[in-house]
Structures are given as structure tokens and as C-alpha cells.
Amino acid sequence: MGSTFGSLNVAKSGLQYQQIAIDTANNNISNVNTDGYVRRRAEAAEVGGPGQPVRWSFTDGHGQGVATESVKRLSDLLMDKRVRTEHGNLSFLKVQQASMERVEATINEPSDKGVASMLTAYGKAWQDVVSAPDGEAARASVIAAGQSLAASITTQARGLGTEVEQQQAAVTENVKQVNADAQKLAQLNHNIFVAKANGSDVGDLEDQRDQIALDLSNKAGAVVEAQPDGRYTAYLNGNALVPPAGTGIGPDVANTLVANNLATSGDPDQDPSTTGTLSYSIFAPGQDPLTDTPAIASSFALTSGEIGGESVLLNYTIKDYRAKLNDLATGLASVVNAQHRAGFDKNGTAGVDFFSFDPSKPGGAAAQLTVAIAGHPELVAASSNTDANGNPLPLPSNDATNADLISEVLLGKPTAAVPTDGSIGSTGWTGWTDTATNVHSGTNISDMYQSMVAGLGSTVAGLNTQTTNQTMLTSQVDDEREQTVGVSIDEETINLMAAQRAYQASSRVLTVMNEVLDTLINRMGV
């Protein structure tokens, strides 16, 4: 034993530490369901006696009690980074999956109301004209069937346009959010740095910062890393959004992310082939995105996080499908119009265009397709002006050779009107090629549409599988992180009990000491 009252101090240090341990357990339990909370542990450190006792010192070289070294925040930086990466990848897929599922619902195939059924019905209506070219009924029906077909195509085109607008709005919102997060991250970097220097507890600030880092990864696939000075940096595809302190622009400021060509990328008001490509730039603080050249990075792509997913949709997936749909509408109109113009109407006049669209108008052909001769059944050009032997037929005629030819174009038997290379020359239809195989995917309109739908189905099915896998991987990584940072009530209960018992024991030491001192002071030498 050292000094007379030294032991009291040892007991007191025990009481203090156990109290902190109880508080820590208490705090952990309170935050058991708090998102982003990382469990804390009160780290005890033994207080040793002086290594080299001074002369006449009372110390006997034994321990001097316990000190609370720190309340440690049990996070794992590497694991946190892994979690952010996987969450970024998951958001990237989820955004695409949700969007493409909506597109798929718009397309509504296979059904009795989709474009495929309407194409068949339109072809059948032409065959009915073959059967009754003399009446108004069959002619009116073919116009009605043409209108239904056009409507089913424009409905799809408009649905895709709406989806594009939705994704554009999402990009705008997410870019705002990312910039707000970047500012917060920089601010927290500063606050944590200062607070640490002051020796204050920064656990809650660090929790907040980790949440923001996760949000940045979710939104933009940002790579957030801890620096040796304790600050976090955030990089988008290698470009600094929140740079490390002391480089370039100075400490604790964030740069600004800006989306380029957002308004025109996948713009439903434009032909999909002429739309801009969505890219991103980063401006330094104080720059004006409207006039200045981006100081940090310009026109780079984002390939992870929600914005990455939205960019893929706008730049590729939806854009490609819209382009194909436009080609389909243009092809349909060209093929039918060419054959229709070759025929003669009920009054013996040469046929005019059956379908019309204005490609310069919003959305291109697919969104604009209408029946040009609506309300004029007599203009349906069913007849040919020659008989089977090539001799001229007097017009008007009840001949229906031309109606039969039009139905053949649609009903699946390619004729001369649909060349195998997919082009129909002067009418301007270049057809479309399968981007994967670079081979023209259909021999006629129905085949083309079918491969479009199958392609879309494969895309969605692929996204579904990838999302499921990524969800599993992400939850696995989340679980691993949770094993380190999560609060277990059972564990905390045990810690609580241990601390309680230790506190009781320390109190007991005090009682003992009190009795010892009582004996020493009151009973001795009396």
C-alpha cells in the first residue's frame, strides 16, 4: 500500500471507469436501431506505478488504478469502403431495373392489345378489303385498324418519353443531392478535424459523415476514402468532388458536379438519333458552370450509383429502344405507303400515303404516326390497274390485288416491298441493325417488332438477375459490417452487468478502505 489515501483514489478511478462503461453500454442500447450508428466501447487502460520510485516516495510500485483511455468507435474503414462500393453498384442496377420494368409494362406484350396484335389485326383488315373492296365497311375497317396500330405505337413512344422525362428529373435531383452531400462532407471533415484537435468526442460527427459518404456512393457511385489526417475525400470516376485538404483549392471545400446535355439527352421532343449524350463535369468553387470551363474535370461518364444508372438509361437503353421504335414506325409507314401509292382507290385515282408523320415534330415518327386518310374510306387504294396477265384494267375496279400485297407485307411474307437489307431506298427508311450482332434482325415489320420485344425482355431479365445477385452481395457485405459495428443487446446486457458488478466491487473497496481508515484513525492510539 502506498500513501494513506492512495487506495481511495484507485477505487475512485475504478468507479469512474465503470460509470463510463455503463454509460457507453447505455448509449449503445439506446441507439440499437439508429441507422448509421457505430457501436462504442470504453477502452480501459491500467494506470501503472512510477517505474522508478523517487526517494522517500510512498509508492510501492503497484498499479494506481484504471483510466478511460478513450471511448472507441468500432468502425472498420476498409469494410465501410467495401459497403459503399457495393451499395453504389446496387443503386446503379436498381434504378435501371425499376425504369425498365415500367417500360416493359408500357409495352404490354404479349397481349391482345399490344403492337404485335395490332399489326396482325391491321393485316387481317387488309385481307377483308380483298374480300369486299366494293363496300365502305371493309375500307372503313382497315382505316380503323390502321388507327389502332398507330395509336399502339404512339402510346409506346409517349410512355418512353415520359420515362425519359422522369429519369431526367431524377438526374437533376440527384446532382443537387450529391452537391449538397459534398458540401456537408467537407464541412464535417473540418468539424471533425477541429474537434479532434480539441480532444472532444467526434463519434456522432463520424457517424454522420459515414452516412453522407454512403449516400454519395448510392447517388453517384462516389469513391470515398479516409485520408491520414482523418478527412474523407470523394472521387467521381477519378475526379475530385471533395479533394484532400491542402491540395489545389485549399482545405475543406467541395467542388460542384454538373450534368452536361441533360435537357437533350434522350429528349422525347427530339428524334432519338439526334439527342445529346449525358456526361458530367466538375467545377471548382467560385466557378460559374454556365460560362466557365470546368477546372477539375469535364465531360466524364458516371458508371455507378443512381446517376450512373440513369445515365445508362438515357444514353443507351431507353434511347436504343426509342430509336428502334422510331425505325419501326418509319419502316411501317414507308412500306405501307409505297405499296399504297402503287394502288388505286375506289374512284380509280392513284393511291396516296396511308400513314403520315412529321419526323421533325416532337418524338419523331413513332410518337407522330397517324393515318393520313382517316375518315376517307374511298381513298383506300385496294386495286391494281393491271390484271394478272399484266393487261390494263379499267378503273375504277373492284380488283383488290394491291390490298392483298399490303397485307402480305404485314402478315409475315416479305415481298419485294421489303428488301432484305432493310432499306427501302428513296423513302428514306434505313432499317435498324441489331447492335449485338450487327445483323438486320427482321425480315418484316412483325419480325422486327418481335426481336425488339425479345431484346427488351432479355435486358429486363438480365437486370433482374443482376439486381438479385447484387442485392445478395450487398446484404452479405452489410452483414459483415454489421458484425463489427452493430449493437448486440445481449452483449451490451452482459457488459452492463459486468460494469455493474465491477462498480459494486469498487464501492466495496471504498467501504473496506473506510473501515481500515476508521481503525487507523479512530481506534489506534486512543
Binding site: 387481317k124 377483308d128 393487261n391 379499267p394 392483298d404 418481335q450 446484404s475
Partner: protein, 307 residues
């Protein structure tokens, strides 16, 4: 290897397992209630193409059936008309034979025979204008409403001329099978423009019988001509019969094809009810199990065992 299990982890896992189980149950329910395997292209992208193709082909074959029905009706009309025409020509032939036997008939009798021949001509003219749904079946694709007319409508003995055109009425009754369902007038009634038609022959017979005395040479010529006309109608009937047979065959094929296609469509699109039911049962059981696991595990903690 799980080293620590925390409450948050448990709750997260429970939520996700309930979520997964209920998603699967919902998918099984959708399959059950719609009765379809493919509710959207991503359910089975390759089968979607098959389904779309089958749907298109079924529609096409239905149309072939409709076309075949319409074509059969055209050809039946023609068949009836040809039989009636043949009967009338037969009668004219018999009358010509009677008229040729000039010694046995008086002038009055010859005149009566000639009158009947005139009537036969008028009847055949009527038959030649037989219509199906308002269109003359021997007139090609004309919009005139009649195939043969008298050059002078007020004079029944005037030249009968063709009023139709050279067009043909065709019906598509199968993939690449187009059948002509009308009958060229010239094939049945002969060459009106060249004065070598049924009508010309009957008129010649009538004129010969009315001549006094009866022009026996001309009657004999008419007899030969009528014989030839009847042969022509026989040939037309054979032709019409062959085409009817062709439509029947094509129609049978497209019926069979429709059935086969419907099976294909059903195979790829429709759900196997037994399988779907069992599937839904097991999904429901899995969901219940997930719920039960949550009920059990969240109830317990160390606190239950301390006092």
C-alpha cells in the same frame, strides 16, 4: 462465418426474408390468377418471341379461314349457275334437234320452238349476270354491276356484249396459296366480241328456225355450236370443282395449323395449373415460415433470462 449477431442484423435479415418470401408469393399468385406463364417479356424473353409469332400466325390462319369461306361461297354460286346454264343449253339443244326435223313441224310449231329458244337466251343472259354480294361472278373485277348486256336494251335479239373486265377475284387461303374464286365469262359463255358466244349461237338458232322455210344448214351449225358450248361449260365446272377442292384442302391445312399453333401458344404462354398450385402452396408455406421465424426470434433476448 458469423462472429457477432446483432439485433440490427437480425431485423434486417428478417425484413429481407419476409420481403423475398412475399415477392415470390406475389409472383406465384400472379401466375395463378392470370393463368399465364409470360406476363411480361422478361418472364421468358425467348418464349415471348415464340408467343408473339404464334399469335401472329394464328391471326393469319384465322384470316385464311375467313377467306376460304368467302371463296367457297363465290365458287358455290358459280357452280349453281353453271348447272342451271347447262340445263338450259341442253333444252336448247333438244329444241334445235326438234326444229331441224322440218318435215314434221308446221310453221307455227317452228315459231313456237324459236320463241322458247329466245326465252332460253334471255334466261342464260340473266344467269350470266349472277351476282355474289352485289358483284357479278362472271364479270371480273368490274364495278358495273353486270357481266353481259344487250347492245340495244330494247331489242332482245340484239348482240350481247361483255360488260366486265379482265380482272380476277382472288382469295388468299394459305401461306402462298392464292385461289381464283370468280370465273372468266368468256370461258363459260364464249367470245362475245368475236360473235362466237352462247348468245350468238342461240340467236342464230332462233333466226334459222324463224326463217321460212327453216334454214336447216344453219340449224345444224347451231346444233354443233351448242354441243361445243355444253362441253365448254363442262370444262368450266371441272375447273371450278378443282378450285373448290384446292380451297378445301388449304382450309383444312390452315385449320390444322391453327390448332397446332394454339397448342404452341398455350405451351409457352399458359401455366400448368397443377404446377402453379403446388408452387403457390410452397411459396405460401415459405412466407408463413418466414413470419414465424420473425415471431420467435425477435421475442427473445438475454433480458428474458436475467432477474
Amino acid at each position: 462465418m458469423i462472429s457477432r449477431v446483432t439485433q440490427h442484423m437480425l431485423v434486417g435479415r428478417e425484413l429481407s426474408s419476409i420481403g423475398t418470401a412475399s415477392t415470390r408469393m406475389a409472383a406465384a399468385q400472379e401466375t395463378m390468377t392470370t393463368g399465364r406463364r409470360i406476363n411480361r417479356p422478361s418472364d421468358a424473353p425467348a418464349d415471348t418471341t415464340v408467343a408473339l409469332k404464334a399469335r401472329g400466325a394464328i391471326g393469319q390462319n384465322e384470316q385464311y379461314q375467313r377467306n376460304a369461306q368467302d371463296g367457297t361461297a363465290w365458287l358455290s354460286t358459280i357452280d349453281t349457275t353453271l348447272s342451271s346454264t347447262n340445263k338450259l343449253l341442253n333444252r336448247a339443244y333438244v329444241l334445235a334437234l326438234q326444229g331441224a326435223d322440218s318435215g314434221a313441224n308446221g310453221a307455227a310449231a317452228e315459231s313456237a320452238i324459236a320463241n322458247e329458244v329466245d326465252q332460253i337466251k334471255a334466261s342464260i343472259l340473266g344467269l350470266s349476270n349472277t351476282q355474289y354480294l352485289g358483284r357479278p361472278v362472271f364479270g371480273g373485277t368490274t364495278t358495273n354491276g353486270s357481266a353481259y348486256v344487250l347492245s340495244d336494251p330494247s331489242d332482245p335479239s340484239s348482240q350481247v356484249v361483255y360488260n366486265g373486265d379482265s380482272g380476277s377475284v382472288n382469295r388468299r387461303v394459305g401461306d402462298g396459296t392464292v385461289v381464283r374464286v370468280d370465273m372468266a365469262g368468256a370461258k363459260v359463255f364464249g367470245d362475245t366480241a368475236g360473235g362466237d358466244s352462247v348468245f350468238d349461237h342461240l340467236q342464230a338458232l332462233s333466226d334459222a328456225l324463224r326463217a321460212s322455210p327453216v334454214d336447216n344448214t344453219k340449224v345444224q351449225t347451231s346444233i354443233a355450236a351448242l354441243q361445243k358450248d355444253m362441253n365448254g361449260i363442262g370444262a368450266a365446272q371441272a375447273d371450278e370443282g378443282a378450285r373448290m377442292k384446292q380451297i378445301d384442302t388449304a382450309s383444312g391445312i390452315s385449320q390444322d395449323t391453327t390448332l397446332a399453333l394454339q397448342k404452341v401458344k398455350s405451351d409457352v404462354e399458359d401455366v400448368d395449373i397443377a404446377e402453379a398450385t403446388i408452387n403457390m402452396q410452397s411459396m405460401t408455406a415459405a412466407y408463413k415460415a418466414a413470419l414465424m421465424a420473425v415471431g420467435k426470434s425477435t421475442q427473445q433476448s438475454l433480458l428474458d433470462f436475467l432477474r
